[in-house]
Subunit: 220 residues, 2 copies
């Protein structure tokens, strides 16, 4: 049997992307929780370039960068497709996954944890980016159509982590009236059985985020 | 016959990536030069998200983001492979192409055009990133092995644009003694016939870069 290991962090949406990909394919794996403040020698050996989780190790061969790993999982194992089969649809999926990483996640995170002018700028950037996603999902259950695919998994931060964070920091950015399609998608995604079973517990994330707030008195 | 159009800018390494991909596959295309200071309605229609070149339009369907386009070209047309066939080798190629875009090109460009402390920081970052590439090419003619592939095309800025810019701005970062493998690769890549024929003329780039220097008196 192939040896599959995931080096991750329980609360990381990037780490969870890899686990979701493996779960979707029905691949069994050993999960190794990394202490991000004291990274293991193995993690640094497997990802000497970025020194970051997640890392997938398949038969001793390491792969890092969550989107790269998801494409690898899709190509290395049989099972439900992560990317569509049609070249144009594949290109669109890659485009939106990249868009989420570059244009959505950074300003959304910054909108939560910055203050003043920086927060306003981030909110504006995030709103603009989310509008494109809101438009893209239009009429579909998932970004992947009827089933979960690359873009849905890439957007897991938007569907689960962000609403939790928003509530804690008192941000009202991704509201149901402004983003009805995205809100519906977030509900569908998080309630899909294999996703639901693998999301980090809400209360543990809340605890972490509240800790960040307490450590940043200036943001209150 | 399929209708293939490329919206690009003659001096852009990202635009040239797309053309190199099409040339490698032997795909004929119509090239449309965009005025980046006055972008066409068609470009804005085809890439409403980023409003940037390059855009590939295949039978009326637009694709943007040069690395996404290269993967599309590889999947949509027969001919020499842009990505390897083996899933692990494909993951490695995607990893390094992403690394070039995120960790090499931005600090290399900044090292050329910034001053003072910002320049020193960018030089340091660029040197670190290039060391990883120097190590990765070790012993191979191209990043793709014996033939040009995704990483070589993605690295075209490093092979052609950067040495020209370095000389003009008086930077000595990617020297032959510090980066012998990369320097040899740059020579091999730029002298590969289909690449050579499609690189923008050296003197035209020199003219553009000298124009930038003149417009930035503070950097002299």
């Amino acid at each position: 049997m192939a040896e599959v290991k995931v080096f991750g962090a329980w609360g990381s949406p990037f780490s969870k992307r890899v686990e979701m990909g493996l779960k979707l394919k029905g691949v069994e794996y050993e999960y190794i929780e990394e202490d991000l403040k004291n990274k293991s020698t193995l993690l640094l050996k497997y990802n000497p370039v970025h020194k970051k989780i997640p890392v997938l190790v398949h038969n001793g061969k390491p792969i890092s960068e969550s989107l790269v790993i998801l494409e690898y999982i899709d190509e290395a194992w049989e099972g439900p497709n992560i990317l569509p089969k049609d070249p144009y649809e594949r290109a669109k999926a890659r485009f939106w996954a990249k868009f989420i990483d570059e244009k959505c996640v950074p300003p959304m995170w910054k909108a939560c944890w910055s203050i003043g002018e920086e927060r306003e700028k981030a909110k504006e950037e995030a709103s603009e980016a989310l509008k494109f996603l809101e438009n893209e999902i239009n009429g579909q259950k998932f970004f992947g159509g009827d089933t979960i695919g690359l873009v849905d998994i890439a957007a897991n931060f938007i569907g689960y982590w962000f609403p939790i964070t928003e509530e804690i920091v008192g941000l009202e950015l991704m509201t149901q009236d402004k983003y009805p399609n995205l809100s519906k998608w977030a509900y569908e995604y998080c309630n899909c059985s294999f996703v639901k079973e693998n999301l980090p517990p809400n209360d543990k994330l809340v605890e972490i985020f509240k800790g960040i707030i307490q450590a940043q008195p200036a943001s209150n």
